[in-house]
Amino acid sequence: MADPYEVLGISRQATQEEIRKAYRRLAKDSHPDLHPGDKGAEARFKAIAAAYGILGDEKKRARFDSGEIDASGAERQEPEREFYRQHAEAGPGFKYERRWQRGGPDEDDDLFAQIFGQHRAGTRARGSDVGYTMSVEFAEAVNGAKKRVTMGDGKTLDIAVPAGLQDGQVLRLRGQGRPGPKGGEPGDALVEVHVLPHPIFRRDGNNIRSVLPITPGEALAGATVLAPTVSGPVQLRVPKGSNTGSILRLRGKGVASPHGNGDQLVELRVVLPAHPDEELVRNLTEWEAKHPYDPRKQGDQA
């Protein structure tokens, strides 16, 4: 039986940590489930595991070093183990096949369909699909847009971004993939579209959320102010006595959808002047002294 120190390729003075590291490195290179094509992997892995079974345990290692147990004695204790590959190689149709494929199995990608597709379908093979990614501005995704984009591989595509496009949505452009071999139909271009974040607007389903700063005077007395929307600024009536956190709804200013447009939800934020002067500070302090209230206490917001 091979010397466990030799199997792990370490000196007899190696620390337990060095032994663990050597074991991990060798086991990764020889794990039979990770190297199903390597016929020697299982034997190597068993030898490595047996060697580590002795040296990885400080007590067993001491007994081995003192000659109390030998390398083969410990190995016989290892039960015959089952490896994952015995299941995984049982045949096509194994349950973990295609688990890796996002969006579920696609018949066209089946290996046999690729090999025999021509004969099965009775037509020439179709070219393969090509994946691309691109980004659009927030407003383009909401309102829709027509764009001409040159992709990383030099291909120029005319892309109609549909109104209401979601971040990560994939657009299929028929016939813009690779040409079919021997005159077959070309594949499609699959364009994954990312929506760039907007400094003001945020998508919330079919609604759009935004925050609108107003002055304390506008909040207290009410006012009509200009509010940005994805289709341009509109007049917004801020009711008297509004506060930070009040939400005003602009009907139909959200994302277009077949079930009717979403709304824009404008959250008000009362903003003090950046450099408040003496007069403001004095007036407010005097007012607060006469009308004390604690905004941190519920139901006491004067």
Partner: protein, 111 residues
Amino acid sequence: MTDRTIAEKEVIDAVEHLDAQALHRWIELGWVLPHRDGESLLFDASDVARVRLICELHYELRIEEDSLSVVLSLMDQLYEVRCHLNALLSAVDAQPDHVRAGIAARIKGRG
């Protein structure tokens, strides 16, 4: 493989290092695909072998979960290709001599 189903507790008892929290996380990640029967999860022998492998890679070989998802995805693709290749090889094997010779000549011609 086998029709015998194994309950969650048996799996946790049988596999070294495994706890319920990790097992549930891996199921959530789609790494393990037990059969669901109402509230309970039922595992077959291939699920248990897979859980044992994931434990070994994670707890003994110290492959972090982020990397492990890549490892498992590549491993699943590898096994799928190998299964199909084996099926194809046995189909070739079942062909008459002249067909096999034709295939062999074509492969050599390319290499």
